[in-house]
Amino acid sequence: MNHSKKGMSRRTLIKTGLAGILATGVSPLILTRGAWAQEFCNNPTGDTVTIGLNLPLSGAYAEEGADEQKAYELAVQHLNGEGDGGLLNVFAPSALKGNGVLGKKMAFVTSDSQTKADVARAGATRMIERDGAIMITGGSSSAEAVAVQGLCQEMGVIFMAGLTHSNDTTGKDKKRYGFRHFFNAYQSGISLGPVLGDEYGADRRAYHLTADYTWGWTQEESIKNATEALGWETVQAVRTPLGAADFSQYLTPVLNSGADVLILNHYGNDMVNSLTQAVQFGMRDRQVNGKQFEIVVPLFSELMAKGAGENIKGIFGTSNWHWNLQDPGTIAFTKSFGAAYGSPPSQAAHTAYVQTLLYADAVERAGTFYPPEVIKALEGFEFDGMGNGRTLYRADDHQCIKSVLVVRGNENPTSQYDVLEVVREVPREEVAYDPTIFGGELGPAEPAPMC
């Protein structure tokens, strides 16, 4: 009987057994190691992909937050192929198909950031960790944007900034995972300076009231530089806390300072309050140094102009975008927003909408949700048809370079929405600047191993 010889000896049994154990034990490791390259924070596996909207629904910038939310909802509808398609029809070059993103339906979760950096970070963390958000977007304050952007860099989740105007967002505090479509204070200064010089002359004394956080600081600095280059003198720059309801204690000293221009580096409700109070103080009827006293609000928005009502007439500022522009992108967006909500969109809504589309488009072009590839697709991307003319997502600092609007409070509004008129559209070449002037580093693109 050769049975025993043909059968397995004890030694081979052990050998094969061990080899088998090793193989079953090790092979999953090898396989998962290979899979690691594509394993990243919140890789969407189902048939939906979730984005996180971090919006100020209470606090000083609540109105902007509410308008942004409408725009995000609209963008998600359009990306999923519902509604009239909005900017999907005019945006070029576009890889968007109107069937979601990479075939997955887009869904969203929201969080109220209360216009506070701490809360915004907690909300973003919740949306990433619990709700599985692949991308975070929104915010209407630069403090929030800078804070959330830092967090997203650590967690390896892309952040598409909403309304944030501080130089720091794409300057000192820029991050590889953070992208900004909105313009910044430096560009406001370059655009607004010459217009102010033409209108008010070169011999002026300016008094700044500044919201006391990153955006206010950088805007004050940028406007100071631009106006001092014209020959203006800066009398004083006073910092005011964000969300202060009463600005009278800050406005009284302006009257006796010998200044003939008041520059309000305020935004949202703060600007509405400070401007209204300044007008109540009779500042716009005053003559100082033999000149008419003027007020300038370097960053203007539709919603603020509406809030300030009559007081805004004739006041200069800058805007990222205005619904009354006559290019196909603006017309298409204003039309679908108006059809959905019955009012024209604000610049906050516009930037929110555009950012969502740009992210989705970058994912389509990259062919994956893997953040480093999406980042590569966004960096240096040049596009048109979004309402700002030809626009470049600059690779060096993730700042969109596009034209900037100098606007003025409309003297004879034809409707309650027709509160701003565009004085000048400053072309993109004039507002492009050297990305190295603000310092800062983008940091690495590899995502954190987990989130």
């Binding site: 619990r130 967090l151 580093e441 989130c451």
Partner: protein
């Protein structure tokens, strides 16, 4: 003399607490709260409330300025990250020491008075610290924007050792997600244990004696100042520890952490859970943080889905009413819960638990007096 270090009941309580804390990822699942960030907050604010209770619960001194120490802890930790190393241990040590020093200064002045005057003094100091952080000391605190890490930070110790870590770590182990939670949870358990030891010690007895009748203590010849000051500093150090942990799990320190609202929050936590009890303040902290993070995230869409089973008109009506209590309105819900608890259970949730236990143990004797309600001083 009693030589037993830990009594059986204390040990059981500690054991139960440890299990409850470490098992959080499991039992919080049905509540939608089992994600690391929120559980870290549960642990961190638990430490804060335990520390606050050492002062308020034991000595009866109601401080309205504890957020100042919390904020100082955060700033100290972030500066340790910026200047020294991304390791958590130096950050914790610094934060606890600096907030302890800070508490010593503020406590020394504030404790010259008691009762409402003490509360007002602490409130004033905290508000001063907040304003300093918000607008005066911006080079140190970065004001409203908040103090953050940057790639350009010197990190002298890390540089000397050749470590290039980007996120806070514990001896090389990054403290992200669940690792961060277990780190905070471990410290919460240690903090709980220390508070338990303090409460049971002769020192703790002295503190409770101060609460019940300070004048009598004076008459018997005790100088109570060193005891109250020690309690104040210890609870300030607890707050600093919690603040540092918040900075470790999320390296950012903002001035709003020091605002009076934050100071008021820890008072609410302690009263909601049960003043003077060990577990109560922790439960209070968990409830408030749960409301803040989960209730505030509900929006009308979620409500519509929840009440989907109701007929259309009714659904809209129900959503309309409930939507006032969630989302932005979470403060309203919290306020209602707080009022109900203070009115019906003056001893906080722990009194409710005691009454339940009482009722379960003696079903034969209905109406036995529950612990007499005591006014929250």
């Amino acid at each position: 003399m009693n030589t037993i270090l830990v009594t059986r009941n204390d040990l059981l309580l500690l054991l139960g607490f440890t299990i409850a804390v470490l098992a959080m990822p499991i039992w919080l699942q049905p509540f939608g709260a089992a994600y690391p960030d929120l559980m870290q907050r549960f642990a961190i604010y638990g430490i804060f409330a335990i520390g606050f209770n050492i002062l308020f619960g034991l000595t009866g001194y109601l401080s309205f300025g504890h957020a100042a120490f919390f904020g100082v802890g955060s700033y100290a930790a972030v500066w340790s990250f910026k200047l020294l190393t991304m390791d958590a241990i130096p950050a914790l040590v610094f934060a606890v020491l600096i907030s302890g020093l800070f508490a010593l200064l503020i406590g020394y002045v504030s404790l010259k008075r008691s009762g409402i005057y003490f509360s007002i003094l602490t409130l004033a100091f905290a508000q001063m610290s907040y304003n300093l952080a918000y607008s005066v000391l911006t080079p140190i605190t970065n004001g409203e924007t908040g103090l953050q890490l940057t790639l350009a930070d010197p990190r002298h110790l890390d540089q000397a050792l050749g470590i290039s870590s980007r996120s806070p770590a514990l001896l090389g182990q990054p403290l992200l997600g669940y690792a961060g939670f277990y780190f905070c949870a471990g410290l919460l358990i240690v903090a709980f244990f220390i508070a338990q030891r303090i409460t049971g010690s002769p020192f703790g007895m002295m503190l409770r004696a101060i609460k019940s009748n300070q004048t009598r203590m004076h008459y018997t010849g005790f100088n109570t100042r060193p005891y109250t000051l020690a309690a104040f500093v210890i609870s300030g150090m607890y707050a600093g520890l919690a603040g540092a942990l918040l900075a470790i799990t999320d390296p950012l320190a903002g001035a709003e952490r020091m605002q009076w609202a934050a100071s008021g929050e820890v008072v609410l936590m302690t009263i909601l859970g049960g003043v003077g009890t060990l577990v109560g303040p922790v439960i209070g902290a968990w409830i408030i943080k749960y409301f803040e993070n989960i209730f505030s995230a509900f929006n009308e869409g979620i409500l519509h889905r929840t009440f989907d089973f109701l007929p259309d008109g009714l659904e809209d009506a129900v959503v309309l009413v409930t939507s006032k209590f969630v989302g932005e309105g979470w403060h309203l819900t919290l306020g209602l819960v707080f009022v109900l608890i203070v009115v019906f259970l003056p001893g906080g949730i722990m009194e409710g638990v005691r009454r339940l236990v009482h009722w379960a143990r003696r079903p034969a004797e209905p109406g036995r007096a529950s612990p007499r309600p005591q006014p929250a001083e």
